[in-house]
């Protein structure tokens, strides 16, 4: 389990995270949502240690990650996989080399074993036959899938995804969501996805944490969102008239709060 206790992060005088506490369980797709500038990316970067929190703690299975030295953090990081918003594939390497990179760096497997593992992961993300292509030669959706393959190649315990659907068409987004959901359940990983894609929220949000202006405004499941009485969350999720009508159709009820107030 990943546990977050009173996490705060400021840049000079500007407070971005103002005391967030929550927890994320294995085998669940955990979504962190919020408007642009709400602190989602900073929150995830604090969780993985790319940013040092101003105060507060992050625990990985009871180990206080934020109190560890860089060398000790490296031990935990080998159990972390991360999919970046722009995929962050190494331009000078082929798809195969990208996925193989963590294996080359951290394992003593033979070349054949590594290739088998890479092919298995590429097959898992439906990218058979793309081994020798360079990142510049494949589409955005394929790059995301290569990013996922690279993130899962070492069988991580924790998977972080920063806006995995940004810049993708709805169909590709759904495929990425399904894939993330499937591997989370299959490998019982703790998956934390940073998104503002409403399809993802409603489709795969087993736990949703809603951030607003640096605070945790709400948390619950996607089903609970449908019946929320939190005005900020309601206006964020059902931003368009179409979605409001859709919600009304699903729940067959008028909202408990006045929308667009």
């Amino acid at each position: 389990m990943i546990e977050v206790k009173d996490l705060k992060k400021s840049f000079e005088d500007k407070a971005i995270l103002k005391g967030i506490s929550t927890y994320f369980e294995p085998g669940k797709t955990n979504l962190v949502i919020g408007t642009s500038g709400s602190g989602k990316t900073v929150f995830v970067k604090c969780l993985v240690g790319l940013l040092q929190p101003t105060s507060g703690s992050v625990f990985y299975d009871g180990i206080e990650f934020t109190a560890l030295s860089n060398r000790e953090k490296k031990q935990i990081r080998t159990k972390i996989g991360m999919l970046f918003q722009g995929s962050a594939l190494f331009d000078s390497m082929t798809v195969e080399e990208n996925v193989m990179f963590p294996l080359n760096m951290f394992t003593n497997l033979t070349a054949k074993e590594k290739l088998n593992r890479v092919n298995f992961c590429l097959e898992r993300v439906n990218l058979v036959g793309a081994n020798k292509k360079f990142p510049g030669e494949i589409s955005g959706g394929m790059m995301k899938r290569v990013g996922i393959a690279r993130a899962i190649v070492l069988n991580p315990k924790y998977l972080f995804c920063d806006e995995p659907n940004s810049g993708l068409d709805p169909q590709t987004s759904l495929r990425i969501d399904d894939l993330l959901s499937d591997i989370t359940h299959e490998y019982q990983m703790i998956t934390i996805i940073n998104t503002h894609d409403m399809n993802s929220v409603m489709g795969m949000g087993e736990k949703v944490v809603f951030l607003h202006q640096g605070y945790k405004e709400w948390e619950g499941s996607s089903q609970e969102i449908l019946h929320t009485d939190n005005e900020l969350l309601y206006n964020f999720i059902f931003a368009s008239e179409f979605l409001k009508q859709l919600r009304k159709g699903i729940t067959n009820s008028t909202p408990l709060i006045k929308p667009d107030k």
Binding site: K74, R77, F84, G86, A88, L89, P102, F106
Partner: protein, 244 residues
């Protein structure tokens, strides 16, 4: 104050690159890739410039000393010493500051902006160790031989130009051997090692800490070239002051 901030961050970057490699094979592979990129990739430009600089030096001195009582073989002597002591290391240093400096800063800057450096860190790889150290070590290993080659090509360029100007090859060769001091080669080697370190480390620093977007990568590359060029000239003077 800004100088101390940047200098402190530069020193910390250099400190952080010293860690036990996660995988020696991957690090050495990266080292050879960098040596190839810096050395082989700069061979043509350094070679062509050195050849012509040697030729111009020979022509210029032949022209200027032609009407004086200086013996002909002095052209070979002058070309040899100016190439070895000054022109080969300094000109090659400036050329490398432009080519390698912008290349390295651009590469690391792009990696930073596109989160590739973050990706390495998340994987548990020390980005300074894996990205910065092979570039600096690669430059230190490959730049001195490149500069020796530059000096040789400059002397050869001088030979071709001098012969074309009417100076006999025998006299030029006599000048090349005249009062040769092997310590000059030591000066050239010291300069080349210092320049290699400065060019690679300044470019790595500029690229590694890029913030913003594509425009900032361009600015970082420009800064890398400007600062490393100034440092090359400055340390050229310091080495000359100390060693001659």
């Amino acid at each position: 104050m800004k100088f101390f901030y940047h200098f402190g961050r530069y020193v910390l970057m250099m400190r952080d690159m010293f860690s036990i490699p996660e995988n020696y094979r991957m690090y050495s592979k990266e080292l050879f890739r960098q040596m190839n990129g810096i050395g082989i990739g700069s061979l043509i430009i350094v070679g062509v410039i050195s050849l012509f600089v040697g030729a111009v030096t020979a022509l210029q001195f032949s022209y200027q000393l032609g009407s004086t009582f200086f013996p002909e073989y002095m052209i070979g002597f002058i070309v040899r010493d100016t190439m070895i002591i000054e022109l080969a290391p300094t000109l090659s240093g400036l050329v490398l500051a432009g080519k390698v400096g912008s290349n390295v800063a651009g590469e690391l800057g792009t990696m930073r902006i596109s989160e590739q450096i973050d990706a390495l860190e998340i994987m548990g790889v020390n980005p300074q160790g894996y990205l910065v150290m092979p570039k600096i070590l690669g430059a230190i290993f490959i730049v001195p031989p490149l500069i020796v080659l530059s000096a040789m090509l400059g002397i050869f360029g001088g030979y071709l130009a001098a012969e074309n100007y009417g100076i006999s090859p025998a006299n030029y060769q006599k000048g090349l051997l005249y009062l040769f001091d092997p310590f000059n080669v030591v000066i050239m080697t010291v300069k080349s090692v210092i320049f290699a370190f400065l060019i690679a480390s300044v470019a790595c620093y500029q690229g590694f800490f890029v913030k913003g977007g594509a425009l900032d990568i361009g600015k970082a590359s420009t800064r890398a070239v400007v600062f490393s060029s100034i440092l090359v000239i400055f340390f050229d003077y310091i080495v000359a002051l100390v060693m001659t």
